[in-house]
């Protein structure tokens, strides 16, 4: 145990004095500073200056009358709607107009635009406005006075949505952020653990290490240090974000992305921490073990590929589950017990659904036991792997060695 603490301290000091580690953390904090202080700065420097009226883009309409133009102008306040008689294509391609509508009566039109943006929903909106005009003219044609016809058209149904469980839409964002943070940290730090071990092996520092410390102390010490370093980095990044956000809360838009993120319930933050640490540990152990079997630093990328693919596959399942809203599908339920996917899958279910207490307990228990088991196994692979130089051993050989170890 004493060795474990010594190794943990040495490795952690290694991270904290690493210029890249410190630099990246400082850079992230600086970016967050800029983002969170931007609204305040804009208000400070822009205060008192009235916004200059923006020049609106032009929408051309042909084949309609003034009543149609007025209706479209009301429905599309972002455009200056103009009637035209001539060719309407060339102004669009020439850039004088942003878009154009050629009406063939009220129930048929052609929409012209130069490059059709992914987010262009003008055609649908036009269709709605014209349908209303059509219905209005039909109603007035049937002898209903225009004001009454307008009232019929404007009739609204009031409604209210109350979620009795979890609001998936609201929780989606921070679940996504957490899963993405977990993904980044596991890939970055996992690779770092693997290359640290491989570097020790290729610099032959390993010769002294294996004769000085127990492999379990080495493995657990190294992984715990990288986990702490990762957590510390996240605490720096998210902590400074929270601090800066609170300093600038008054300048933030209500319902903006940052507000959504920082309104995360505390219980969820707790679960995030639990799954984050356990998920990190299980992958870091495996990355460390794989690092010990590589002979050269250059081999690391190929050696860790299968593990990285397993992790990415798990992440894809969870992200698809989240986006489709089916977080309780049989696949997601299965994934929430498999230790390699449960940190992401069960966390998502906790955030976006309400799994039973025993389900969460079982998932954490399986993950915890697997962490211990994988840790011991990784230490054994490590002890065998680090002394094998030359070509990287095949998995079959490693399994044989494990049986003997």
């Amino acid at each position: 145990m004493e060795q474990f603490w010594k190794i943990l301290r040495f490795e952690l000091k290694g991270y904290l004095t690493n210029k890249v580690f410190v630099g990246v953390t400082a850079l992230l904090v600086a970016i967050i500073f800029l983002v969170t202080f931007f609204p305040r700065a804009r208000e400070l420097f822009g205060a008192g200056e009235p916004d200059e009226p923006e020049e609106r883009e032009v929408m051309l309409v042909s084949g309609g009358d003034e009543s149609v133009r007025a209706a479209l102008a009301q429905a599309f306040p972002e455009y200056e709607v103009r009637l035209t008689e001539g060719d309407i294509r060339s102004p669009v391609t020439g850039g004088e107009a942003a878009c154009a509508v050629e009406l063939h009566g009220l129930s048929d039109f052609t929409y012209f635009v130069d490059n059709l943006s992914m987010y262009d929903d003008n055609a649908e909106r036009l269709s709605g406005v014209l349908a209303d005009l059509y219905r209005l003219s039909a109603l007035t044609g049937a002898g209903i006075p225009p004001t009454e016809a307008q009232a019929i058209m404007d009739a609204q149904v009031s409604f209210d949505v109350q979620s009795l469980g979890v609001d998936q839409g609201q929780n989606f964002f921070y679940t996504y952020v957490m899963i993405f943070a977990l993904y980044m940290v596991i890939l970055l730090y996992g690779q770092m653990v693997a290359s640290n071990v491989a570097a020790e092996k290729s610099s032959r520092a390993m010769e002294l290490l294996v004769t000085s410390a127990k492999p379990t102390s080495m493995m657990f010490g190294k992984v715990a240090a990288s986990c702490l370093a990762g957590l510390l980095q996240l605490v720096c990044v998210f902590g400074s974000a929270l601090l800066f956000y609170n300093l600038n809360r008054g300048y933030m838009e209500e319902g903006g992305i940052l507000s959504l993120l920082f309104d995360m319930p505390l219980a969820l933050l707790g679960w995030m921490l639990v799954y984050f640490i356990l998920g990190f540990l299980i992958y870091a152990f495996l990355y460390g073990a794989i690092g010990s079997t590589a002979s050269k630093l250059e081999d690391i990328n190929t050696s860790v590929m299968p593990l990285t693919l397993v992790f990415i596959a798990g992440m894809m399942v969870v992200v698809f589950g989240m986006s489709s809203g089916q977080v309780d599908s049989p696949l997601m339920v299965a994934c929430s017990y498999i230790p390699f996917t449960s940190p992401m899958a069960m966390f998502t279910r906790i955030a976006m659904s309400h799994p039973a207490g025993w389900e969460i307990g079982l998932s954490v228990a399986v993950l915890l036991a697997s962490c211990g088991g994988v840790g011991v196994l990784a230490a054994k692979i490590y002890r065998t792997g680090v002394l094998l130089y030359g070509t990287s051993p095949k998995w079959g050989d490693i399994l044989k060695m494990l049986k003997k170890a």
């Binding site: 010594k6 610099s203 002294l208 004769t211 000085s212 410390a213």
Partner: protein, 294 residues
């Protein structure tokens, strides 16, 4: 203290690396472990240090199984290597602490050793800024700083210039003088001959020869004379088929039997101008080639 390896067997997969290796080393004396590349020296050392267990056999100290928590072992591996990018004192203290020292004691001991080896000025430098010989001296500190009872030095002299080799010799002699058990593994027979009282020669995973070095040499038949003389050619002509020149300029005269020694020596000193004449003892190199050769 007597450190003993008894009947050690070890295989990696199908490959037998050690078959029945036994040897013993005593405290206050240096022991030489010799063998060609791949003879099983490093595997024997790793088993001795408990890096991995033997398939069969035992490692004992004074007859009892070795207790690694109580017995300090210092190791200078043949494949030298520390952390190239880390500060020297940091890694020295780390390794000494891993061997069970308190951090403050480790720091004091490492500083003392750095001073002893004339390396104090590099204390706060990064390892990769040092020359190869100086890196080797730093590596030596990791083997000695925690004051181990057993010191294992694998090719300690390779890469050292004559001045540093002299320094290392002094350090090794001091350690032997302090009652340490020093285990040498080297291909440089001169150093082994200079330091080691006893040796073991490994050949293909077996002990080909082990024992007290002087005794081993004495056990060779004393039927050869080494002669240094300006009249070597005449002497060789006087003993046709029996004399052969050695590399160092001496003439080696093979006698029909050891009993002839006295009469031949008298005859030679009566007839020729002899600078030096003695019974020829095989060098460790000769013994090594004989036992470790194909």
């Amino acid at each position: 203290m007597i450190l003993e390896l008894r009947d050690i067997h070890k295989s990696f997969g199908e490959k037998k690396v050690l078959t029945g290796v036994s040897f013993r080393a005593e405290s206050g004396r240096a022991f030489g472990l010799l063998g060609r590349n791949g003879a099983g020296k490093t595997t024997s050392i790793r088993i001795l240090m408990g890096v991995f267990p033997a398939d069969a056999g035992s490692v004992t100290i004074d007859g009892a199984p070795i207790d690694y928590r109580r017995t300090g072992i210092g190791y200078l591996p043949e494949e030298r290597g520390l952390y190239p990018k880390k500060k020297i004192i940091d890694q020295l203290v780390y390794f000494a602490a891993l061997k069970g020292m308190k951090t403050s004691d480790a720091a004091r001991a490492c500083d003392r050793w750095l001073a002893r080896l004339g390396m104090s000025e590099y204390r706060d430098k990064r390892l990769d800024t040092l020359s190869k010989g100086n890196q080797q001296k730093i590596q030596l500190v990791t083997a000695l700083a925690h004051d181990p009872e057993i010191v294992i030095l694998d090719e300690p002299f390779s890469g050292l210039d004559p001045v540093n080799a002299m320094l290392l010799k002094d350090v090794v002699k001091e350690e032997i003088g302090r009652g340490k058990t020093v285990l040498f593994s080297s291909h440089q027979m001169g150093y082994i001959e200079e330091f080691c009282d006893s040796i073991a020669i490994l050949n293909r995973g077996e002990v080909a020869l082990t024992g007290d070095l002087r005794q081993i040499k004495r056990d060779y038949p004393r039927d050869r004379l080494a002669i240094r003389s300006a009249q070597a050619e005449q002497i060789a002509a006087d003993f046709p088929g029996q004399a052969a020149p050695a590399e160092n300029g001496e003439l080696i005269l093979k006698l029909a039997s050891p009993e002839e020694k006295r009469t031949v020596m008298q005859r030679l000193s009566a007839r020729y101008d002899i600078d030096e004449m003695r019974v020829y003892e095989p060098s460790l190199n000769d013994i090594f080639v004989q036992y470790a050769g194909d």
